[in-house]
């Protein structure tokens, strides 16, 4: 036991990867399952806000882009559930925890998408924030998660470009389109900053997660990075970020920004955001309405296996 623990510690210390068959502390395993499952749930629930606009996309090219993006998110969910399964979790159980509200997903998806500009702003800001969080996780100490994250980050950065390109195009369009973009930015900016989680002094698990190298930077570091990145991007786009306190601080070499309303994050996380109930209801309905389909597939596979076994044993057709 002490040997195993020592070997685990050494792996972490040398920046090597922990692999599924390696011994790991129970707390590490549980934390990783929770982290990966929440990420998987976020991908799946995250299909909804944008998915609602696929059938209404205003051009066929935009429709193709959005459909491909939402499909990628389903794919990300699949990889991530698979990564969680390497730790002994089960996809069906994790889905059960999601629809029973026992596991969380990113609170950003509890906000509504009110117009097509929201699709672009989600790509730019929400995917942008997600990438800030996720690129360092390509170096997560848990191997399967780190590898899944490489592919996911590739696709996410691609989605971000597409979102930004939509906004650029809209800003070159009509006055009404520019107003739609600004309105969407106004609604999504603060929730995007909240995606990095509570401030460091209120994030009790950060130290342990950093020690285990399953978290590489603190919430506040990543949030600052995101703000610094976004300011020139907003300027290039010609939109205003809705924060009167936002300004460059030459002394710090960073942008200062106004206080975040943490009570709002708390409210949304605890289930009282604008769309929490709807998001979970849609996922629950898909899962429950699909139960008979999954049962049929299992039953058919069993019958087919029975027939093969019967044939192999020279007993003819079987069942």
């Amino acid at each position: 036991m002490a040997d195993l623990e020592e070997r685990f510690d050494r792996t972490i210390e040398r920046d090597q990867r922990v692999e599924p068959r390696d011994w790991m502390p129970d707390g590490y395993r549980a934390t990783m399952i929770r982290q990966i499952a929440q990420h998987a749930h976020s991908e799946i629930i995250g299909m909804q806000p944008e998915g609602e606009w696929i059938t209404r996309a205003p051009s066929l090219r935009r429709k193709a882009i959005l459909l491909a993006k939402v499909q990628d998110e389903a794919g990300h969910g699949l990889y991530l559930y698979s990564a969680a399964e390497t730790l002994g979790a089960d996809r069906a159980e994790l889905t059960g925890m999601l629809i029973e509200g026992r596991q969380k997903y990113s609170s950003i998806f509890n906000y509504p998408t009110l117009g097509y500009a929201d699709v672009g702003v989600i790509g730019w800001l929400v995917d942008g924030a997600a990438i800030c969080n996720q690129v360092p996780l390509c170096r997560s100490s848990y191997g399967p998660y780190a590898r899944a994250m490489i592919r996911i980050c590739k696709e996410e950065s691609f989605h971000q470009r597409q979102g930004y390109e939509l906004l650029m195009t809209m800003m070159r369009g009509t006055e009404a389109q520019r107003a739609m973009v600004q309105d969407a930015v106004d609604r999504w900016w603060w929730p995007s900053l909240m995606m990095f989680g509570p401030p460091d002094d209120a994030s009790p698990n950060t130290a342990r997660s950093m020690a285990w190298k399953i978290k590489r930077h603190t919430n506040d570091e990543l949030r600052q990075r995101f703000v610094d990145m976004s300011v020139p991007q907003a300027e290039a786009l010609g939109v205003t970020l809705p924060d009167a306190d936002l300004r460059w601080n030459a002394e710090r070499g960073h942008h200062d920004f106004g206080p975040i309303d943490w009570s709002e994050l708390q409210r949304v996380i605890s289930g009282n955001g604008p769309c929490n109930a709807r998001r979970v209801a849609v996922r629950r309905a898909a899962h429950e309405d699909g139960a008979w389909v999954r049962e049929a597939a299992t039953a058919h596979a069993a019958k087919a296996a029975g027939r093969v076994a019967g044939t192999d044993a020279g007993m003819g057709g079987g069942g």
Binding site: G51, T55, R56, P58, S59, L60, R61, A64, A68, Q71, A74, L78, Y81, Y116, G128, I131, C132, V135, P136, C138, R139, I150, C153, K154, S157, F158, Q160, R161, Q162, Y164, M168, T169, M170, G173, T174, A176, Q177, A207, M210, A211, R216, E221, Q224, R225, P232, Q233, A236, L237, G253, V282, A286, D289, G290, V293, R294, E295, A296, A297, A299, H300
Partner: protein, 354 residues
């Protein structure tokens, strides 16, 4: 101690500006987006892997290029341009409207693998629709682009078969519909690979590979559901029954189809029935299901179908006997509803650019 250390984030570097303090163009901004993320991954080579090689991540048809760029779009000798345009609209509308019904499954599929597959099929059909609509706009000389044709026509101007437009039932009905649609369309596209219109031939060559997968995917599910549990079998029977009244229309030729077929550019759909029946026969046998009897609703006075979801829809009554309804512009109310949704944003902002 060493286990708690972490690398400092690199200092923020502002992107280069031009003399006016602005970023030069969109290209600079994209570099800025990437650079910003790259800086986060400064240690290790993870991010290098993110930027390898050229970019295959643009899903087909999501780039900026004219989909028919570099293709000779002159109408071949002996083919009437208006007929060719009408024909491309028929095949393009089939794909566009069927894709819409599949898009409606998004976030509602029974399993994540099905989310991915249904979106993939919807994306393939959308790609086919775009090429065909673009071709219609060049063939009739109107110069209307894919979006003008998709978003600025009313239901009566759409030429898709009714099978594509009826509302989604449950998953069993969706798979029965997809099996019928893909089997028919595959047979059609196989013939069109030899079309005298090079654009149609190219669309067909690409489409054959895609639709062969759509057919196999749907067939797999029809078999699983038919030969699964007693409940899934019940749903499969009901789904097939709901879809079957729409089969006859697929093989009833419109005069444009016949003219295009004799000009060597199109295919006579009535010639596709035998191959269709063979494939359906094999799949239904494997699924332990019985083929429903054909109904020719175009000549019937009783045109209300009861659907597994307990919604009913009325097939158009005013279609002349033996004439294909959808191809002639006669549709169910479901198409009007579908278009109201599909065209809502585009029509709300008629002067916008997207």
């Amino acid at each position: 101690m060493s286990s708690t250390e972490h690398t400092e984030l690199p200092a923020y570097e502002a992107p280069d500006r031009n003399a006016h303090g602005r970023l030069d163009d969109t290209g600079d901004v994209y570099e800025m987006l990437d650079d910003a993320h790259e800086a986060l991954a400064h240690a290790g080579n993870a991010y290098e892997a993110l930027n390898d090689g050229d970019d295959p991540r643009w899903a087909y048809g999501t780039g900026f290029a004219d989909p028919l760029a570099g293709v000779d779009t002159r109408v071949p000798d002996g083919v009437d341009g208006a007929d060719l345009a009408a024909y491309c609209l028929m095949l393009g509308d089939d794909a566009l409207i069927m894709s819409h019904r599949l898009q409606e499954w998004c976030t509602r599929a029974p399993e994540l693998e099905e989310e991915v597959a249904l979106a993939n099929i919807a994306l393939d059909l959308l790609g086919q629709a775009r090429l065909l609509l673009a071709r219609a706009g060049t063939a009739d000389g109107s110069g209307r682009d894919e979006d003008a044709l998709a978003f600025r026509r009313d239901a009566g101007e759409f030429r898709n078969v009714l099978l594509a437009e009826v509302p989604n039932g449950d998953f069993a009905e969706a798979m029965a519909r997809l099996l019928v649609f893909a089997t028919w369309r595959l047979a059609l596209l196989e013939r069109l690979t030899g079309s005298r219109d090079p654009v149609l031939a190219a669309v067909a060559v690409k489409g054959v590979k895609e639709v062969a997968y759509h057919r196999d995917y749907a067939a797999g599910w029809v078999v699983r559901l038919g030969d699964g549990t007693s409940y899934s079998r019940e749903r499969a029977v009901a789904g097939l029954a709901a879809v079957w009244p729409l089969v006859t229309e697929l093989f009833t030729p419109h005069e444009v189809e016949l003219r295009l077929a004799s000009a060597g550019a199109g295919a006579d759909p009535s010639a596709l029935r035998e191959g269709f029946d063979d494939v359906l026969g094999q799949v239904l046998t494997a699924a332990t299901l019985t083929r429903p009897t054909d109904t020719t609703f175009t000549q019937s006075s009783d045109t209300t179908l009861t659907r597994p979801t307990d919604t009913t829809f009325t097939l158009p009554r005013d279609t002349a006997p033996g004439r294909p309804a959808g191809r002639s512009g006669t549709h169910t109310a479901a198409l009007t509803d579908l278009l109201a949704e599909m065209q809502s944003v585009a029509r709300a902002h008629p002067d916008a650019t997207w």
